[in-house]
Symmetry: C4
Subunit: 242 residues, 4 copies
């Protein structure tokens, strides 16, 4: 019993400690495997892959899932509060990272892309190792309210722009500005200044309206980035003062 | 008489208080109805709606207007200075929110889109409930002068760019850069970096001119967002100091 | 002599004072005339103007030039150091604002657009009346060196991007990326995020190169706006402290 | 021996001193030659150059390389630790600036563009003379960690956007969104707001997904510019305090 408890202690150390050599190797292996798995996931979507390449990608997937499954069982084993781990953020991430594979054994899921996409949650496994992310989460948290307000102002602006441009452009381009929903796509591409060029006003009224919405919009849409920058600068200043 | 005064008091409480349960339910109902009404307004513009769908949207509109009318009368009833309310910002918003419907009973307004668009003012009813908006209005107010100056600089820059590009591009693309007015559309899309791609310079002179206008313009057009961010950060800092 | 000196004094007061009623009327008249003249200048470029409209625009131009000429002579008259005024910024602006008209009497300049464009300097006459502009000129002056450094970094980045994309895309699109000069146009549209869509990479190498240039470029090109914002905020803070 | 040592001292002074007249002339000559060489390099890529022009560009190149070679030998001569200079940043730049020419004597390198591109390192020779660059390098160094974090967040966001849009758009536009790699190009052009318009979503799901990615993305991608601005403002403030 004491021996088993000892092993559990050592395993827990392996999993949770990021400073010992064993811990570093464990961490690095998981991170490397996530990257390999993601690259393999990306390559898989290339058109015209040879059967050999597909076979190799499948083998990589099997090995990846096997190791991730072992990792999941290990993390579950060393945890005292098992249920808490299972329903924690990273517990769910670890589970969803291997689920699609096991689901696909019974049924052929190759056509159900949504299930395959779930494999992408593996990327979130990397977040376990980012100290910076936690610090910046604080900065985001501090300006949460302002960001929500600006999100609402942006939504309002997008909607208002869409209605306005629909009013001006629908009669001239009924196929492009078919409805306010179609106009919302224009409003998004315009106020974020992406401007794909697939849809744009051609009437004088619509162009003048675009001018006004851009004058107001640029002062609204770019503000969140400014707020986040300021919050990060503040967080750094406090860290430096200490 | 005292009973009637009592009811008036209670109704006023219902309308103006945002903390009691009754007040919260009243507020929430109005907000929900605004959203339903706006979604219905948006869906209405979809092409190829079935007659049943149209009939449902019409029913939603009738119910919405009925409730908004009651709300308007209620707000008018509880107010002592009735004229002041009628011509206040929110009084006008409440009135314009129901006006198009009553106008459309007599005459068929389905073709007069401008009147139907007025229904959009319902969105402004939501502003009654936003505390943040009032705080940020202060921030905007503080940098009012700078924003006006930058608006003028932007207008000057847009006009100057339009004249310059007209000079360079009109001989090469007389159909695109027909006049300075047409060039203004190019100037707007370029200096805001939207760049739809419907109109752009093709001459060497026009391209070099675009380079200079963008070098100057990017330093001008993006400034308002920076000023607004800074003002908001300042407002927050003061609020935190208290 | 004393009477003449008195008139000169009064006229000088009219021209230089911005607070008395007479001074305000004088200032407002000049500003209004500038705007009318600029609008007329813009309308003139519209294609398909009727002969009557053209005749009206010509009449407006004659009246405008007549009044601006009187204003120029008046300003010259009240100034003691006449040569200094003639070669001052606003002296030259006032002169260039009327010059094209007088030149066009002798020769037909309708075809020489460059000369007609000179009329645009009339816009600068408005700058006499902007207090804010002078304050902000100070803010710009303070960060002059940084702006110059960033202009050079931007130029370097544009050139480097142009050379790189030429290397990647010239073999694939010899008609679009004909030379480094043509590639510079791509670099400008891309790094400023305008993205007209008239020219873009299609090779894998060119796309990866674009990724790297954008990652570096966005952190450089948007900095001047940030510096100008910060300088303006600083200028305002100092003004408020006083 | 003493005479030779004296000459070496004087040459070292010429090379390293930037304040004496001789030093200024030396510095200016190198800078001018770099610019001439870069302009010649750029002009060389123009299509349809006459044989005379090509001959002139070749002569300029020979003279440039000759002088740069002398400069390199001079710098090597005056340096006591020769190996350290050879493998220093500027030592390598000076060497690479002349290498392509000498390589091209033996073999015809006109077709190997990559080698010709190396001539571009001559631009880096200009960095020797920029004081500001060194100061700003400090500012960048201070926010190094934040920039790295944001680079990773941007990479994550780009990849996540690419996977998502591939999921939505691949079935509708299999030729445009062929694979996640092709989708990454869309993600780059969209999140940086370049928006060339060569590839964009057409499905409702893809457009809604684009909305969410842009709402998150604009708050991430524009932050580095804000951080760099803040760091520069800080560096300047400290410099002014001294």
């Amino acid at each position: 019993m004491s021996g088993r408890s000892d092993i559990k202690k050592q395993l827990r150390f392996l999993v949770h400690d990021h400073k010992s050599l064993a811990g570093k190797i464990f961490d690095f292996s998981v991170q490397a495997l996530v990257l390999i798995s993601i690259i393999s996931f990306t390559v898989e979507t290339l058109p015209g892959l040879s059967p050999e390449a597909k076979s190799w990608l499948h083998k990589i997937e099997i090995v990846t899932v096997a190791i991730f499954s072992l990792e999941y069982l290990l993390r579950l084993y060393v945890e005292d509060k098992k249920l808490k781990f299972i329903f924690s953020f990273f517990g769910l991430v670890d589970f969803l990272a291997i689920l699609p594979f096991y689901l696909s054994i019974g049924i052929d899921l190759r056509s159900i892309r949504a299930v395959r996409m779930v494999r992408l949650v593996r990327l979130f496994k990397l977040m376990r190792y980012s100290k910076a992310l936690r610090i910046y989460a604080d900065a985001f948290y501090q300006i949460k309210e302002e960001l929500v307000v600006f999100l609402f102002m942006t939504l309002f602006l997008l909607y208002f722009s869409a209605v306005g441009i629909y009013y001006f452009e629908h009669p001239a381009q009924p196929d492009k500005f078919q409805s306010i929903f179609h106009s919302l796509w224009w409003a998004l591409a315009t106020l974020t200044t992406v401007g794909y060029g697939d849809i744009y006003p051609i009437t004088v009224g619509g162009k003048i309206f675009t001018f006004f919405m851009l004058m107001i919009g640029l002062g609204i849409v770019a503000v969140p980035a400014g707020l986040i920058s300021a919050a990060l600068v503040e967080v750094n200043r406090k860290a430096n003062d200490k």
